[in-house]
Subunit: 139 residues, 2 copies
């Protein structure tokens, strides 16, 4: 099962809006972080590094939920509940660079760490999240 991301709120997923990604800890407690994302038109793509908590969580339990709040409208957001359909390292370094351009207008920037410090030190991963339930507020 898959549901469409409505055009009315697609800008919150494809634009440079920080989103809250929630994954599940082994004991079932939700774990929330702030991430960048974009989409392939149908699925949400997030990018993290191997070994991080959300990487471990999504590898163990595919149930995840995203919330993207419009930074200019307190009463406009989209919640996407879904499942991780694919986990891949293919293209992940290029994808995080693409997100850096989108979010920071920078050729590459991984959080607080300069790219040179990261070379060979981390393995980037793309998580493809298939929406199974979408809820929106506002127009």
């Amino acid at each position: 099962m898959s549901v469409k991301i409505p055009q009315s709120h697609f800008d919150l997923i494809d634009g440079p809006v920080l989103i809250t990604l929630t994954t599940l800890m082994p004991d079932g407690q939700p774990h929330s972080t702030i991430v960048w994302c974009n989409s392939d038109g149908e699925n949400v793509l997030v990018n993290t590094a191997r070994g991080r908590q959300k990487d471990k969580n999504m590898s163990a339990d595919p149930k995840v939920t995203l919330l993207a709040l419009d930074p200019n409208d307190d009463f406009r957001y989209i919640e996407i509940r879904g499942v991780v359909d694919e986990i891949t390292e293919v293209g992940a370094a290029e994808h995080i660079a693409e997100l850096a351009r989108l979010y920071m207008d920078a050729p590459a920037f991984y959080g607080h760490v300069a790219p040179a410090d990261l070379a060979g030190k981390e393995t980037r991963v793309i998580y493809k999240i298939r929406p199974t339930k979408v809820r929106t507020l506002g127009g």
Copy 2:
């Protein structure tokens, strides 16, 4: 077990910052919404109305997680994982009015609905969330 909310990030919980509240659906899928909150100094207080999904979820499973992102700093946030320790209707109408003043500088405003339209139509509830794990980014 309880952990303290660090002073460095207390403003994100006690100030008028919109937070993402994640509860758990009956099937374990995370459910995220945007809410107002404040605190009693140790616990986070959120306020909803009986019958809403997050009310049902928190009544059934006490595991919840909050994330508050600094609207002025993309790299500063606090994540609070915790449990719902108390659910009460006592003082809940006053509490939502207090939050309306804090967030909207209004005497009372419940989302998009004028107070007069809500009189007698909903029962407000306070959820007291005890932090069990706190994680921060930024200073």
